[in-house]
């Protein structure tokens, strides 16, 4: 189609209008592409940066030696010696995984319960306010959780933990895991704080997943004479199992990276793995936060970068797996 030439009577030349639209469109697309590209670049740059900064320690001690030891003793490090590696990081991986698992074990059943309640049992007028309240938990700053953990949670936990130590702590074989003494700051306390922080994410996802249950299946179950609980158990939960897994994995990814709240309640015992969940420990995030300001010993700062590198890799992998899992279940969720 040919474009008519401009005439003195038309207010805006049609050709230049089309050109302007084309250039405007292209600029817009480039700008948006740039914004998206920046995100990818930042991610790549972070990975490259961490590997580069941790390279001196990796080269000096050997990459695998960090994972082969659970003893972190910067005061043992000298510029020359390479064996044994004084910067073993296994206890930090253990601490991160343990606190996150404790958090999930507490949070996932509660989230499933809350989501079931919101989608199945609560009266219609309560659903939205309750959802808002749960989401509001996600907006509480992390440091506030840490503060609350120290001054409110720990005193409240004392009797509960004393009871657990007196009962589970005496059981043979697993008794060591529940042994005292309990000083408040511990893996267990950090796990509980993480449970509360992870609750909103897992609940929101479970809510979405339960809401997709076809109404006719629910009604069919009720029509067969099942009680409300039986209906939820047979019509809603079985089809949602994979979705709940995905939500849990995403919650795990969130729990791995949590720094300030965990640092305030875990006790900062960096030497090695401590067996009991009621003893003090450290996580990857907490050791970095605590030690990076004066990491003056040989290879100390570089080894903290090794810890950061591992934390980034583990968090990325868990988050990617979680997102792919959830996407498989609910392809329309923009997560």
């Amino acid at each position: 189609m040919t474009v008519p030439a401009t005439t003195s009577t038309s207010p805006v030349p049609v050709r230049s209008l089309q050109t302007r639209r084309r250039y405007g469109d292209r600029t817009f697309r480039l700008a948006m592409l740039g914004a998206a590209g920046v995100v990818v670049l930042v991610l790549l740059a972070m990975v490259v940066f961490l590997v580069a900064e941790s390279w001196p320690a990796l080269a000096h001690y050997g990459p695998l030696s960090f994972l082969g030891s659970d003893r972190w003793a910067p005061s043992d490090a000298t510029a020359a010696s390479t064996r044994p590696n004084p910067y073993g990081i296994v206890q930090f991986i253990y601490g991160t995984v343990l606190t996150s698992v404790i958090g999930l074990l507490i949070a996932v059943p509660m989230s499933v319960g809350i989501a079931l309640f919101i989608t199945g049992i609560a009266p219609a007028w309560l659903r939205r306010p309750l959802s808002y309240l749960v989401d509001l938990l996600a907006s509480i700053p992390s440091v506030v959780f840490g503060f609350w953990g120290i001054f409110a949670l720990i005193p409240a936990l004392q009797p509960v933990v004393s009871f657990l130590i007196a009962t589970l702590g005496k059981v043979p074989v697993i008794g060591g895991v529940f042994a005292g003494p309990f000083f408040g700051l511990s893996y267990f306390t950090a796990g509980i704080v993480l449970a509360i922080m992870v609750l909103p994410i897992v609940t929101a996802l479970c809510r979405e997943i339960f809401a997709t249950t076809p109404a006719d299946e629910r009604e069919a179950a009720l029509a067969l004479g099942m009680t409300r609980w039986e209906m939820l158990r047979t019509a809603v939960l079985p089809r949602s199992r994979a979705g709940i897994m995905g939500a849990a994995i995403l919650g795990l990814g969130r729990a791995f990276g949590e720094t300030i709240a965990v640092t305030m309640v875990i006790g900062n015992n960096v030497l090695s793995i401590t067996k009991s969940i009621f003893s003090t420990g450290a996580t990857m995030a907490s050791v970095i936060a605590n030690e990076f300001t004066e990491a003056v010993e040989p290879f100390h700062l570089d080894s903290l970068f090794v810890v950061a590198m591992w934390l980034l890799f583990i968090s990325l992998i868990v988050n990617i797996v979680g997102k792919l899992w959830v996407r498989r279940i609910r392809g329309d969720l923009v997560w």
């Binding site: 043992d76 005193p155 003494p181």
Partner: protein
């Protein structure tokens, strides 16, 4: 259905409020018990005499350098939390006297040394100065270490019902920190404190999680007095330092973090600079010194720590385990770290003016925060360091 539902919601809210209330009362009750025991001081008559005796806490040293003109209006420093309360006091008084603002960041001796090495602050502060290796890594070249005060590191504990004045020896403290003594009613502690009903409670050991001069003073003392501590840590080179491989315990950040951890944890035992223990109303104990006497930490027992100490040219030495019969054994100083060859005249003048003031008029304020002023001989040595500061080869003072 609706009324029953509403009842459940109301019940849930009630439980939430109750647990919040229980949590807060639990916290505050341990706080008040620490408060009441702090008032029942029980260090014995000998200590009452020593600490009650008059000590000259305002030596009125004369400032012979005078104010050098052209100094900068602001100074930045960073380092020891041991000395941080005193720096705050000095900065405020100095600002009133001269109009110069001194900003001091209390980040621990390790952090202060690192910032000073990188030349990001005008002066650093480390309780145990810098080792030759650390000085060789300092970007600005030769370093002057200037002692500014004397302070005590005190064993602080949180035991409901137990008054201040519990007796400790260096060896027992070493065994506690080495995780060999784990309970408050251990026979070793009972033997030292025969009249006290020690509870059957595990000891919550508290130490520093950051690089600390306070730790260096404390572990130096343990290394001298506790063979168990040395062997558990793997030898005298590993058992003292700004940071050590703590066999057990809770890590707190800074003297502030350790005092907070002690205040919140029943059965805690930790080490803090005396001012933190006193201002946080924590109970602290007495330690047996080299001469065998049980000494309470106070200004009168801190001042004799320099008796008989031979100071090297760098002035960097430990003051622990003194031989004076009335001295408290865990005493330290704090060293201001200043580059000998300054590059900026304004900074050099400001530094000399500030530290000349600290070493003269400032010393009269030390006792307000339970630190001791420097004795005359040490003050003279410290003051002489200031005269070594040069700019472009010419001395400033």
């Amino acid at each position: 259905m609706r009324t029953r539902f509403a009842a459940v919601v109301a019940g849930a809210l009630g439980v939430a409020v109750a647990t919040a209330a229980c949590g807060s009362t639990g916290g505050s009750s341990s706080g008040t018990s620490a408060n009441t025991t702090a008032s029942k001081v029980n260090f014995g008559a000998q200590n009452a005499r020593l600490c009650g005796s008059a000590v000259n806490t305002t030596p009125h040293y004369t400032n012979t350098i005078g104010t050098i003109s052209g100094g900068a209006k602001t100074l930045s420093g960073a380092g020891s939390t041991f000395a941080a309360p005193m720096y705050d006091q000095w900065a405020s008084s100095y600002n009133k006297a001269s109009g110069v603002a001194v900003a001091y960041a209390s980040i621990g001796s390790g952090g202060g040394i690192a910032a000073f090495q990188a030349n990001t602050v005008a002066f650093g502060d480390g309780d145990t100065g810098m080792t030759p290796a650390e000085i060789s890594q300092a970007k600005g070249g030769a370093v002057l270490q200037i002692p500014l005060l004397l302070g005590a590191v005190v064993p602080t504990y949180n035991l409901p019902g137990i008054p201040a004045g519990l007796k400790f020896t260096g060896n027992v403290l070493g065994e506690i920190y080495a995780h060999k003594i784990t309970n408050w009613d251990d026979p070793a502690l009972k033997k030292l404190n025969p009249g006290v009903k020690l509870p059957n409670m595990p000891i919550a050991v508290v130490h520093r999680s950051d690089g600390s001069g306070t730790t260096n003073i404390w572990t130096n003392y343990l290394t001298q007095t506790s063979p168990t501590w040395v062997s558990t840590l793997g030898g005298p080179s590993k058992s003292e330092g700004l940071t050590v491989a703590w066999p057990t315990g809770i890590g707190g950040k800074g003297n502030e973090g350790v005092s907070a951890a002690i205040a919140e944890t029943k059965g805690a035992l930790g080490y803090v600079e005396a001012d933190y223990a006193i201002s946080e109303h924590l109970t602290y104990g007495q330690v047996q010194n080299k001469a065998g006497n049980w000494i309470e930490p106070c200004i009168a027992t801190v001042v004799p720590a320099v008796d008989g100490v031979k100071f090297p040219p760098s002035l960097n030495t430990f003051l622990t385990n003194g031989s004076n019969p009335d001295v408290y054994p865990i005493v330290g100083t704090t060293y201001a770290l200043v580059y000998e060859h300054q590059t900026s005249k304004a900074t050099a003048a400001a530094l000399v003016n500030f530290f000349a003031w600290v070493l003269t008029a400032g010393q009269d304020e030390n006792a307000k925060l339970y630190y001791a002023p420097l004795g005359a001989s040490l003050q003279k040595l410290a003051y002489a360091q200031l005269k070594k500061i040069t700019v472009n080869g010419r001395p400033v003072a």
